[in-house]
């Protein structure tokens, strides 16, 4: 049975446990209220941290520093390889080092507006406050940020803002911040506070007496199903863009940890809020395995254009200036090429839909550096973006110093995720969710250089405070992996593995995933409509049936088997895809990355409906896969930034 909006049952509204007081005092007030665990007692607690990206590694390191026993799990062969490593452009902080009138309030304001008024004000304000501490800490860790000749830190601009507040380490800011956090984590390993478990994939969350008390993982090398007990579980397992198959995420990034937590009762918030990044290298063939991002920072100097005429097949350098349409500069004169990502992506789609797209398939626009090279010289451009240009040339075989880059939007980040309160705890006591895996700070659209900021704020500066309060407030009797909850879970996982290996059909996991990804990209991607979303809700249950009849998963369950790993993730993607479509269908408005064709302004911009949809939609698993999920609303209130029609003109 397909999910249907008519069958959505509404349950009680959610309380985000937001602190009282003026916004600039809320986090301090909350910290004063939080209970603290004494140093002697911290060592009695074991904390399970899943994921070692910026949020997970920073949390594991910071908790180890405090004296907790931490077990850190990751899917890669080393914690250093988590997908945060691929973040290119930078990290925001309201330092106002450039004297351009930046402030905590301005970063807060930009983020709320950028998110199209679908994020919580208090969370975002705290994020802006903590941005200052992150930069201080990263510099103390030896992160080699770019500097001016005077020795002070350099900044650049990102989309959706009018100041320069982005700190960067060439085009590898994520790498350098992650290696800083990984170093801090490995220091705690050396000190005996953290134990690492690489090549493990979390397959279940274990609740005992209603509290998160453990996880079940698959050892990806031996195939063994292993259980681990803890006093709290922290998920920092990233986003779910790979549901689309083609995305800028790493191949192993997946939704399984958060999805299995959802199926254990954690609410999934705003699943339809996904970010399609405007500047990615276009697909070149059917065999394509992933898409590569070209950093948003390139829009500081690159100009986006397409030919004025439809189907103009001339070489870009032969198209004269007056026959080019620099459509972002034309439509948004004050932000120009630096409009937010959702706006840039939607406009790229629009010009391509008009038949003015370029490249072999007509699904690309130009990002042109010729003016910047003329104005500043080639060395300036090379110094700033050299590694990105090199990467572009390796993939496409074209030299972007001479020919404009061809770019097209691609799935990149997911604002939706598990619902958490202000303390970053889900509705399941003892289950905390950090970074991209939660839904908290970016509303319906994330601004560039804010993901790194959120991951590190959550891990270094929020969870060390809020976790202690939980541990000090609850009674946690000793449990072991012999409890029936662990045994039953292990058995169910082993059965699913056996079932996957036994189908022996004629279609590969990859074929099914491509098919699902294409469906979601077409109908739950850059623009959505009622008809398409209803079709998705009908189609996915059929695909699931076909999958269980026709899939071919080779190999054994006793050793390294990537096909088996990917098959398990795909089962969860089918279900997640349904929830995304349901969420998109129920939200009868457009906001940020969620663009419903029925709801747009005469100029084609997203048209919000604050009267009916100014809430977080958190979905509860109803207990079986056929029943339409249950909706919990968390109303959003805006005291400091008045919701308006977003304008970047």
């Amino acid at each position: 049975m397909a999910f249907s909006v008519d069958k959505i049952k509404e349950a009680q509204t959610l309380d985000g446990r937001l602190p009282d007081g003026p916004i600039e005092q809320k986090w301090d007030r909350r910290k004063n209220e939080l209970k603290v665990v004494s140093p002697a007692n911290k060592r009695k607690y074991t904390i399970l941290v899943v994921g070692t990206g910026l949020a997970g590694a920073s949390a594991a390191a910071a908790l180890g520093e405090l004296g907790y026993n931490v077990k850190s799990f990751c899917i890669q062969d080393s914690p250093r390889r988590a997908h945060s490593i691929a973040a290119q452009g930078g990290i925001n902080a309201a330092k106002n080092y450039q004297n351009d009138n930046d402030s905590i309030f301005r970063l807060f304001y930009d983020t709320i507006k950028g998110g199209d008024f679908r994020a919580r004000e208090p969370n975002v304000y705290r994020l802006a406050q903590l941005s200052l501490d992150i930069i201080d800490h990263a510099v103390a860790q030896g992160v080699p940020f770019a500097r001016e000749y005077g020795g002070l830190l350099a900044n650049r601009s990102f989309g959706g803002v009018l100041v320069s507040r982005t700190f960067y380490a060439r085009g590898q800011t994520g790498q350098q911040l992650l290696l800083g956090a990984y170093g801090a984590l490995m220091r705690q390993v050396d000190l005996g506070q953290v134990e690492i478990f690489p090549r493990r994939e979390m397959l279940d969350l274990i609740l005992i007496d209603g509290k998160a008390r453990g996880i079940v993982v698959r050892n990806l090398v031996t195939g063994a199903i292993e259980s681990y007990v803890g006093d709290a579980v922290i998920l920092a397992t990233g986003g779910y863009s790979n549901v689309y198959f083609l995305s800028t995420n790493a191949k192993n990034s997946n939704a399984t940890a958060i999805w299995r937590a959802y199926k254990r009762g954690a609410y999934f918030a705003n699943p339809c809020f996904t970010q399609i990044h405007p500047t990615c290298i276009p697909q070149s063939g059917d065999y394509q395995s992933k898409l590569t991002l070209m950093s948003e920072s390139l829009r500081n100097d690159g100009r986006v254009w397409v030919p004025r005429k439809k189907g103009d097949k001339r070489h870009p350098n032969e198209i004269p200036e007056e026959e080019r349409d620099y459509y972002l500069e034309r439509k948004y004169p004050s932000y120009g090429n630096l409009v937010p990502r959702d706006v840039a992506s939607r406009n790229a789609k629009m010009v391509c839909d008009e038949g003015r797209g370029v490249g072999e398939y007509g699904r690309a626009v130009y990002l042109d550096f010729a003016d910047a090279i003329r104005r500043r010289g080639i060395d300036y451009i090379r110094d700033k973006y050299g590694n990105l240009f090199e990467m572009y040339e390796k993939i496409t075989g074209e030299n972007p110093y001479e020919v404009p880059m061809r770019i097209y939007p691609a799935p990149h980040y997911t604002m939706g995720g598990l619902w958490v309160d202000y303390n970053l705890m889900s509705n399941i006591p003892g289950l905390f969710v950090l970074g991209e895996a939660n839904f908290s700070d970016h509303g319906a659209n994330r601004l560039g250089a804010s993901a790194l900021m959120q991951g590190l704020a959550d891990g270094y500066f929020v969870i060390p405070y809020t976790l202690g309060d939980y541990l000090a407030s609850v009674d946690l009797p000793a449990v072991s992996t012999e409890e029936k909850e662990f045994k039953e879970s292990q058995k169910a996982i082993e059965e699913q593995v056996k079932r996957l290996l036994s189908v022996k059909g004629n279609k590969t996991v990859l074929e099914f995933h491509r098919e699902l990804g294409q469906l979601l990209w077409d109908e739950v991607g850059m623009s959505r409509n009622e008809k398409g979303l209803k079709m998705v809700l009908e189609r996915i249950p059929e695909m699931k049936k076909e999958f269980w009849k026709q899939v071919n998963v080779p190999g054994s369950d006793k050793d390294l088997n990537k096909s088996l790993e990917f098959a398990g993730r795909l089962i969860d993607y089918f279900e997640l895809g349904e929830l995304m479509a349901l969420d998109a269908l129920h939200r009868n408005e457009s906001c940020g990355g969620h663009f419903r064709e029925e709801y747009q302004t005469p100029e084609g911009e997203a048209l919000r409906d604050d009267e009916h949809f100014s809430y977080v939609a958190a979905w509860e698993y109803p207990g079986d896969d056929e029943t339409t999920p249950i909706l919990h609303k968390e109303p959003l209130t805006f005291e400091y930034v008045k919701p308006t029609q977003r304008s970047y003109k």
């Binding site: 390889r81 490593i85 080699p144 790498q175 220091r187 690492i196 395995s289």
Partner: protein, 249 residues
């Protein structure tokens, strides 16, 4: 562009305890626009369809930054293209009809897990001994309190670009991890924040490198030649100076 037909000789090995051997496969109609790993994806899809076990190889970001991909391609870690990780190598650099030999990174300290996948956890254990600055969260001064000359920051960044893939070890006749260790030591040597632990860091990291069974550096320079990030062998000279200074003071 013309499609390629290729012969692949690929190392297959059940696990660390079984002997491995080369198997030969044919792939047809490979687009020159494909990446090397996408070409292997195509082969794996064919093997799966035929009911055979696909070839296991490590990979993740596929954009040259996570360091998870490896492979020795025609005798060269990450293949012949300069400063390029395997995942960024494209098929336009191969010729129609070519035979390509694909092996795992080979070193005593990197045991094979399966087929082309090796265990590089020795690198984590080296980093645990000093690949960081020992600052606890929450105690840092303002980020601009300590100016760092641009030249020093740039030099630190050059060293910090290492992706920890292990190609340097695979290319070295002695299977030395010197370039990997030296890159980390150098990054912090350039920065004021790295000074307090300068001696302890280099002594502990080098000691762990030896304990893991990596060989010594004898200046072949193969490591720099294959490094996908172009980490300079000058870093090894710097690490040695640091090590000697630390040993005698």
């Amino acid at each position: 562009m013309k499609k390629l037909n290729l012969t692949l000789r690929i190392w297959r090995q059940r696990n660390a305890n079984s002997p491995g051997k080369f198997e030969t496969y044919q792939v047809r109609d490979i687009s020159p626009e494909m990446s090397f790993l996408e070409m292997l994806d195509v082969l794996n899809e064919e093997l799966t369809k035929k009911g055979e076990e696909p070839i296991e190889f490590d990979n993740d970001c596929r954009e040259g930054i996570c360091g998870m991909c490896s492979l020795v391609i025609n005798g060269i870690p990450h293949g012949k293209l300069h400063r390029t990780a395997t995942c960024q190598l494209h098929m336009r650099h191969f010729k129609d009809g070519e035979t390509i030999t694909i092996e795992p990174f080979r070193a005593k300290a990197f045991p094979v897990i399966k087929d082309l996948v090796v265990d590089r956890s020795a690198f984590d254990r080296i980093i645990a001994k000093g690949g960081y600055i020992s600052v606890n969260t929450g105690s840092a001064p303002d980020a601009n309190a300590i100016p760092v000359p641009k030249e020093a920051a740039d030099a630190a960044m050059d060293a910090a670009e290492c992706i920890g893939c292990g190609a340097c070890v695979a290319a070295c006749p002695n299977a030395s991890a010197s370039l990997f260790v030296a890159a980390k030591v150098s990054q912090y040597t350039f920065l004021p924040q790295g000074q307090p632990e300068r001696k302890r860091r280099v002594l502990r990291m080098v000691e762990q490198m030896d304990r893991e069974g990596f060989g010594n550096c004898s200046n072949h320079g193969e490591c720099e030649a294959v490094c996908p990030k172009g980490i300079s062998i000058m870093n090894i000279a710097r690490m040695r100076r640091e090590y000697i200074k630390a040993s005698f003071s």
